[in-house]
């Protein structure tokens, strides 16, 4: 073996000195995307895994929480009052505090989704050429009104009171729905959520698919992240875009192959443990008096919000 060592490896590596070039190395958006995707999924998984069990919501039975979620989403979709939306927002904030969540991280996520799926989508309705109304914030004036397709562009273009109210209400409703959903997700271990869904009479086979998919998302994310690290470890200079595309394609193929093999292995493992196309999940513990108490409190409060 010693005699076969390539001649270039026998020589000491050429003396190299660290010379900063002053030029920044850029990594293509494809690689960044893969890394961020993996990090986000993995962090979400770990968040669930590490969800503190000391808080208020963590102690409540998953079924109560699932019903609570559905009930409050129902209230949010029915009510069109700012006062109720604000009241719900304050109530959810108190719950998040009592559940000992990291409020900054939690609301950062809520507001990010609310901004993209609420504010950006509904913002156009605030203009008076989309929805007629009383202009409270004039933006600019035209020499004359115009008619374009189905739109009437008035001489004075601006934001309307009615439009701003509609946008604010939609954003508030979305933010509240997201807050309550994230609250449940962050305070309930995933298997408990699955069991909670079972209480809603969702078939066990569907639950099994969800549970398996969720579990293997992490494996997928870990593999994608490791692939990115492996690429990074061999990246000396910026690789051409063409190569980045080829790399992406080859990684997708490998991931597909790995997942296919994993799927077959899982199925064989299920067979070896007696799987016969009938999926049954275990039921869960009986709710305690604390669960019933909290359930009654949530129900009462929900009815109050409904009546308000």
């Amino acid at each position: 073996m010693k005699d076969k060592v390539p001649s270039f490896l026998k020589k000491p590596p050429p003396l190299s000195f660290l010379k900063p070039s002053g030029q920044r190395q850029k990594i293509s958006f494809i690689e960044k995307g893969i890394n961020y995707l993996a990090v986000i999924i993995e962090t979400a998984y770990a968040q669930w895994e590490l969800a503190s069990r000391e808080g208020l919501l963590q102690k409540i039975d998953a079924r109560i929480k699932v019903f609570f979620l559905l009930f409050f989403v129902f209230i949010i979709s029915l009510k069109h009052s700012f006062a109720v939306m604000t009241g719900l927002g304050i109530f959810f904030f108190i719950l998040a505090m009592l559940s000992k969540l990291n409020l900054i991280d939690f609301y950062k996520r809520v507001f990010l989704f609310s901004f993209f799926f609420g504010f950006l989508i509904t913002f156009p309705v605030t203009f008076n050429f989309i929805n007629k109304g009383k202009v409270i914030l004039p933006l600019f004036s035209l020499s004359q009104p115009y008619s374009f397709w189905i739109y009437q562009i008035p001489q004075e273009v601006g934001l309307t009171k009615e439009g701003l109210q509609s946008m604010l209400l939609i954003v508030l409703r979305l933010a509240n729905s997201l807050t309550i959903s994230f609250l449940i997700i962050y305070t309930t271990p995933f298997p408990e959520i699955i069991k909670g869904l079972k209480a809603l009479k969702i078939p066990d086979s569907i639950l099994m698919i969800i549970a398996l998919a969720y579990k293997y998302i992490l494996l997928f994310a870990q593999t994608a992240q490791a692939m990115h690290l492996a690429y990074k470890s061999r990246l000396i200079t910026k690789s051409p875009k063409e190569f980045a595309k080829k790399w992406m394609a080859s990684r997708l193929f490998i991931l597909f192959k790995k997942n296919q093999a994993k799927g077959e292995e899982i199925f064989r493992a299920m067979l070896s443990r007696g799987f016969n196309n009938q999926i049954k999940f275990f039921n869960f513990r009986r709710p305690t008096w604390t669960d019933w108490l909290m359930g009654t409190f949530f129900l009462g409060l929900g009815i109050l919000f409904l009546m308000a």
Binding site: E42, L50, T223, A226, A230
Partner: protein, 269 residues
Amino acid sequence: MENIIKLENISYSYYYKIPALRNIYLEVKAGENLAIIGANGTGKSTLLQIMNGLLFPSSGKFFLQGYEITERALKDKGILKFFRTKVGYLFQDPDIQLFCPTVLDELLYGPQQLEMDAQEAGERAQEVMEFLGIEKLKDRPTYMLSSGEKKKVALASILTLNPEILLLDEPTNGLDPRTQSFLMELMLALHEAGRTIIVATHDLCLVDELQSSVAVLSEEHEIAKVGPATEILGDLDLLLQVNLIHAHRHVHGSISHKHPHSHFEFHRH
């Protein structure tokens, strides 16, 4: 001999919650053969990834030849080139490491990035393939190879860069005995050729074969001890404590008995 790598009180946590390394202080001399051993989940791979500039410590400093390597520093093209040609990393799973269409492309990827002359790059690739006995695989796509072949190709793809430091993560894990002994001999040959070799493993046979310096990681993610292989492998209390050996019942001929089981103290051949 001067330190080529120095880790100064390195700590690392995943998601800022799960500790992977705690206060690691380690010095590696140029040309040294070092094994980092520890049970599963003690942070061996994390430590290697920090030494390869893939992860950055939550606290502490990492120096390569006296230069502090940080995330910011590695964004500089000059520093990145210096660092990546200096340090090669063999991942535990070769599948994630191999991304070029064929074996030959894999071997040429590094030299091409260094803008090496095509003839010199070709000669390097040829020599490395002969060295590892993989010439016949050169036109094969990497997903058509066996685990052992993939491992050899992954190692070959690093060797064509001629790195001074080789970081090997569980290099013999899951390989057949012949490929394992081939890789062991290869590591010894590369060490004799002057390379600094750092191996993360929980395979004590490999440590015994390499007769390297050894850093033991405890299950508390700290360095439990650093010393020569003979001293570490002879310290059964330490190996028991860090979960690298265990007491279990087994049979010798007609005798069945139970004792701390290491193949170096009682079962050496």
